[in-house]
């Protein structure tokens, strides 16, 4: 078996997300260097705050301000930061319970090494220089030697660390509060199309179209995907089809696609290559758009260096009889 093809594939998109009133207040607060939590009916303070009680699902709106200092409740040393993470040099992931809060927030702790980190240690927020209303407005946490330092705070559940009073109520109102975030996402892959499609693409590089035949129903799939979707069986027998084919159906495109240098109107068609058990897609050229018809016989037009036909054009044969392609519509 020849080497399968591989190519880099980057999937990258910005997610634009709206926020609820509690999330808006919290994230806008970070922009203003204020840390807000939300109170539950049973008196817990949740930081980061959420719109609904994670236990009772009750709607939460009662905001309080907490101190920008807190206590590490657990940690993990990350000696090889990955893309997108808060710091580029080694750091500790930490869950931090802010003073006055009952729950913890995930973030990074800037520390010289794992020896300098322990559960119960006191930390404070290091604010990002440029803040936009996002969790990354907290650049990271840093060790804090001020009030409450010297003796580790207790970490047991329900015991407030440090000396900060349970937070003062906060209206959650800010000027120019954010209504959403834009969260960029990027994932990198090395794409391999598998055995069947590799063979198809390799054949195309020689300007040949090669499908695969189902051992049971004998249908020839072009392009092949490795399996007959009707029979659920592997296809392996390779069959060269075309190069000529028949237009089985078509549409006239009147809207110019972005970044596509094709004049409208043009015809996009289903083309059943001779010997193929199903039609593939292609553009029809070399004929006025309003003269394209079902049954038109066509052949591929290749351009130099192309990896697939640029379009198909009439080959001059008489139109195919409907009976010969009606099963391929």
């Amino acid at each position: 078996m020849p080497e399968v093809l591989k190519a880099p594939l980057v999937v990258e998109f910005p997610f634009t997300r709206s926020v609820g009133p509690v999330q808006s207040a919290f994230l806008t607060g970070l922009r203003e260097r204020v840390v807000l939590g939300v109170r539950t009916r049973d008196g817990r303070t949740l930081v980061p705050p959420v719109e609904y009680d994670p236990v009772t699902a009750e709607e939460l709106r009662d905001l309080v301000e907490v101190a920008p200092t807190g206590t590490v409740t657990t940690w993990a040393w990350n000696h090889e930061p990955r893309r997108g993470q808060p710091l580029t040099s080694p750091f500790a992931w930490v869950l931090v319970r802010f003073d006055g809060a009952d729950t913890a927030l995930l973030h990074a702790l800037d520390a010289p090494g794992p020896e300098a980190v322990r559960t119960g240690m006191r930390v404070r927020v290091r604010w990002a220089e440029e803040r936009a209303g996002a969790i990354t407005d907290i650049a990271c946490f840093e060790p804090y030697e001020g009030e409450g330092a010297g003796e580790d705070a207790r970490v047991g559940r329900g015991e407030h660390a440090g000396g900060a009073a349970a937070g003062a109520r906060h209206s959650g109102e800010f000027e120019d509060a954010i209504s959403g975030i834009v969260a960029p996402a990027r994932l990198d892959y090395t794409y391999s199309p598998g055995r069947a499609q590799t063979a198809y693409i390799n054949a195309l590089s020689g300007r040949r179209t090669v499908g695969e035949r189902c051992p049971s129903c004998r249908k020839v799939y072009v392009p092949p995907r490795g399996a007959c979707p009707t029979c659920g069986l592997a296809t392996a027998e390779q069959v060269e089809v075309g190069p000529r084919g028949t237009v089985t159906t078509f549409c006239i495109v009147n809207i110019k696609a972005k970044n596509l240098d094709i004049e409208v109107p043009y015809v996009y068609a289903h083309i059943a290559l001779d010997g193929a058990g199903l039609a593939l897609h292609g553009r029809i050229g070399g004929i006025p758009y309003d003269q394209v018809r079902m049954g038109l016989r066509v052949e591929p037009v290749w351009t130099d260096g192309a990896r697939y036909p640029d379009h198909y054009r009439p080959c001059g044969e008489p139109d195919a009889d409907y009976e010969t392609y009606k099963e391929l519509l």
Binding site: M1, V4, K6, L9, V11, F15, R17, V19, L27, L46, V47, P48, P54, V55, T73, T74, W75, A76, W77, N78, H79, R82, Q85, W93, V94, L95, T103, A104, L106, H107, A108, P114, T119, A134, I135, T136, V155, I181, A183, A185, L187, D188, Y189, T190, Y191, S192, P193, G194, R195, Q197, R225, G226, A227, C228, P229, T230, C231, G232, L233, A234
Partner: protein, 356 residues
């Protein structure tokens, strides 16, 4: 539903199980090419054809391989013509099995094909899994799956529940058991290695790999016709915890415990448990939550530390537990699957064989 409401519940069993060999890469195969042999295998074990199957349900995630709508392409391997009754969950196949189980309970179908596959090799799975996290407060920080598991492991150590040698022992036992499992990716001695994210070492983490699995479910007499010793699903339940990591007690798994209780796991002893614990530290949490004593054989297959094809590894736990019942090596087994960071969501099934 509560068990009180269903006095005449249909008996449903796992009657066949198959899995691929799980390997670091499977470049030569597309997802359907990887999946098809296990589909043919389970159908072959039962003598069923696609047309005989009443319901088909699958679990997978497009994010793993970066292939949009890959689950529709995977259906090519089923042979879904004439049209079949079919569903898909963007979750581990254990949850697809749960959906199939409910479908069989309704009486709409007597047999079900459940399959799952995951191809992690094309991408960076540690980064891919960050995309399942809270998009407002957590995902923008890109905390990878190992980092989150490491936070949980440290919490366990702080609580005195485990230490590094104990975790190394879990890892070593898993890979030693896997030497009897030809499908496993890591078999036999594997060095504990360096810290990946401290306190977790490479040996505490699952291998990254590609693989697929499938099971056939059948109800009542149909199950007895298709399998000499069906693995009856006596109970199955799944529960979830809050998504905020800082809201949870990471040293415990109340959702796993509740699922086990609702599945009837505590109503009698189990001899075997297949736990979906991708990280050594998570076995510590689960043993405690599921009240598994030293007399229970935990992960005789090697578990997820030996092979962790994401989206299939949970279904494989159910399949491995069922296969032991099929072979007469277990009479009552617990199977567990997990999803989300730090064991956020948990499914528990209790499987039994007929008395011998």
């Amino acid at each position: 539903m509560t068990r009180e409401e269903a006095p005449a519940r249909r008996e449903i069993a796992v009657v066949a199980f198959a899995q691929t060999d799980h390997r670091r890469t499977s470049d030569e195969f597309s997802e359907v090419e990887m999946l098809m042999p296990v589909l043919h295998n389970v159908l072959g074990q039962t003598g069923l054809r696609t047309a005989d199957i009443g319901f088909t349900c699958s679990g997978s995630s497009d994010y793993l391989a970066g292939r949009a709508f890959s689950f529709t392409l995977a259906l090519d391997g089923v042979g879904a013509w004439p049209p079949i009754s079919e569903s898909h969950v963007e979750m581990d196949g254990a949850w697809a099995l749960y959906e199939a189980w409910t479908k069989l309970l309704t009486g709409d179908a007597d047999t079900a094909l459940v399959y799952a596959y995951g191809k992690s090799s094309p991408g960076s799975v540690r980064d891919v899994l960050t995309r399942q996290l809270d998009p407002y407060y957590v995902a923008p920080l890109w905390p990878d799956s190992v980092a989150l598991a490491a936070l949980q492991a440290q919490a366990l150590m702080d609580a005195g529940d485990t230490d590094e040698p104990a975790l190394a022992a879990v890892a070593a036992r898993s890979r030693a058991d896997a030497s009897a499992n030809s499908h496993a990716q890591l078999r036999g001695p594997v060095p504990q290695g360096d810290y990946l994210v401290r306190p977790l070492r490479t040996g505490d983490c699952p291998p990254i790999g590609d693989g697929a699995a499938a099971v056939v479910l059948a109800a009542g007499e149909r199950a007895r016709e298709l399998c000499a010793r069906p693995a009856w699903i006596r109970g199955i339940d799944h529960r979830i915890e809050a998504h905020g990591l800082g809201v949870r007690d990471l040293t415990d798994s109340p959702s796993a415990r509740l699922a086990a209780e609702r599945a009837g796991a505590f109503e009698g002893p189990v001899d075997t448990a297949e736990l979906h614990a991708p990280f050594s530290s998570q076995e510590v949490v689960l043993r405690k939550a599921l009240r598994l004593g030293d007399d229970v054989r935990v992960n005789p297959s090697g578990g997820a530390l030996a092979a962790n094809p994401i989206m299939a590894a949970g279904l494989i736990r159910i399949g491995e537990a069922a296969a032991r019942i099929h072979r007469g090596e277990s009479d009552r087994a617990l199977a567990h699957a997990t999803s989300g960071p730090c064991l956020q969501q948990n499914l528990v099934a209790v499987l039994e064989g007929d008395p011998r």
